[in-house]
């Protein structure tokens, strides 16, 4: 579980732990109990070595993600590089590093965190782009690994009560909350429940799917 120290990652780690999984939580800084591995995912070159020392992994949840929440004219090169690495390149590297052993066992489940940001215009251009990219690589890996018994799916949450939402641009938050049926932000636990279902229970035929958790927000 990447990004396991807080928000959706933390709730998902708890949900899977309650369901009997041994959870290895990764985060970039040690905080609380959620973090077993301190690692900054912008360090792409170290991902293979990291995965090698973690042993057998049955379920990968690519949860770690960042949002810069600045307009395009103020985006720095560093900010762009960082969001592309954390949201897109690192999850792909993790799948590439983990999938050979899943292939050898002919089983494994991978869940990627997309977002409704993938479907529409976004005030943080690179956030939208990276989340659309997550859906693309979810389908690509589902097609490549699916014939060998590996399920690759994604969830696309709407506004969820996390630090990332609090940090979002006000006009973005307003656009999201205008649409939700129940006028509330979703709970991290609701995304966690969905991730747990995809990780443990969803039938094998669900592959390459994106489960929208949006309460009416930006329905596709």
């Amino acid at each position: 579980m990447t990004g396991a120290a807080r928000g959706i990652g933390r709730a998902s780690a708890e949900a899977l732990r309650e369901a009997g999984c041994k959870v290895i939580g990764l985060d970039r800084e040690k905080s609380g109990e959620g973090c077993d591995v301190v690692y900054d995912l912008t360090d792409l070159a170290g991902i293979r070595r990291l995965v090698e020392r973690l042993g057998e992994i049955d379920i990968l949840v690519n949860n770690a993600g960042v949002q810069t929440a600045v307009s395009i004219d103020r985006y720095t090169d560093e900010q762009r590089a960082r969001i592309l690495r954390v949201n897109l390149e690192a999850p792909v590297e993790l799948i590439r590093a983990l999938s050979p052993r899943m292939l050898a066992r002919r089983s494994g489940r991978i869940i990627n965190l997309a977002s409704v940001a993938a479907y529409t215009a976004h005030t943080d251009v690179w956030y939208g782009v990276t989340k659309a990219g997550v859906i693309s690589f979810t389908r690509t890996f589902a097609a490549q690994l699916g014939p060998h018994g590996i399920q690759v799916n994604a969830v696309a949450p709407g506004p969820i009560d996390t630090a990332l939402l609090k940090n979002a641009q006000p006009e973005r938050i307003e656009a999201l909350m205008r649409q939700v049926y129940t006028k509330r932000a979703g709970k991290p636990e609701e995304v966690a429940d969905t991730i747990r279902w995809l990780a443990l229970e969803a039938p094998p035929i669900i592959n390459g799917a994106v489960v929208d958790i949006t309460d009416g927000c930006f329905l596709r």
Partner: protein, 230 residues
């Protein structure tokens, strides 16, 4: 005890779904026009009804008591050529696949609103995302996904969740009706080299009808294994 109402429960996906709810302790109301292929235990209440009779739906639902979960599964497909589609059959598809689900939702919505709870699961199809050999099947399934979003909006503030599943080609009697070209296309595209099993679609319906978090509403869950993805 919670009650689920499953249409088209006499066979295929509906039958598999009814069985899952039954296994979980639900009171199961199973509707179909034909139960001859149905092996549901006696504990499920069978309702023989042809959903083309839209006018009788409100009265039917009124005598069924409390319904916590509605599964709009019944559907019709003919696969006539587009340029020789008998009007009567087109109307049957539109009635069963679109108008009956709407009538059923309208019939159960007031009691769900009163209880501020309820779940509705509509059975769409990947046919909604692509063209389909049966013009009206594809059109009505696309319509059903749209209806899912509309009612999720209409009923969402009252605590009612409305979602859909969009199965790929599933091994049911309907699958046998598909032209060979469609079956070949399916097998070329699915990752696992097999069509969906009714039980896999049923498991997804069951999750949406029971445990799926409340923030999932207005959504369509793809159960397709790579065949005809949107």
């Amino acid at each position: 005890m919670k009650t689920v109402f499953v249409t088209g429960a006499g066979r295929g996906i509906g039958l598999a779904a009814a069985r899952l709810f039954l296994g979980d302790g639900f009171r199961v109301l199973a509707l179909d026009r034909d139960f001859s292929a149905c092996d549901l235990p006696k504990t499920a209440e069978r309702i023989t009804y042809d959903l083309q009779h839209l006018d009788g739906i409100a009265a039917l639902v009124a005598r069924l008591g409390e319904i916590d979960v509605l599964v709009n599964n019944a559907g019709t497909l003919y696969c006539h050529p587009h340029d020789a589609f008998p009007t009567e059959d087109a109307l049957e598809i539109i009635t069963v696949n679109l108008r009956a689900p709407v009538a059923l939702i309208e019939a159960v919505a007031p009691q769900m609103k009163k209880r501020k709870a309820g779940r509705i699961v509509n059975v769409g199809s990947v046919a909604a995302f692509t063209g389909h050999p049966d013009l009206w099947y594809g059109a009505t399934k696309a319509g059903l996904l749209n209806i899912t979003k509309s009612y999720a909006g209409f009923l969402g503030k009252d605590g009612i969740l409305v979602n859909a599943v969009a199965p790929g080609p599933t091994l049911t009697a309907m699958y046998e009706q598909l032209p060979q070209s469609r079956k070949d296309a399916v097998m070329r595209s699915v990752y696992s080299g097999r069509p969906c099993s009714p039980d896999e679609v049923a498991q997804t319906i069951f999750w949406l009808g029971t445990a799926a978090p409340a923030y999932i509403s207005g959504a369509t869950l793809d159960v397709n294994n790579g065949s005809y993805p949107r």
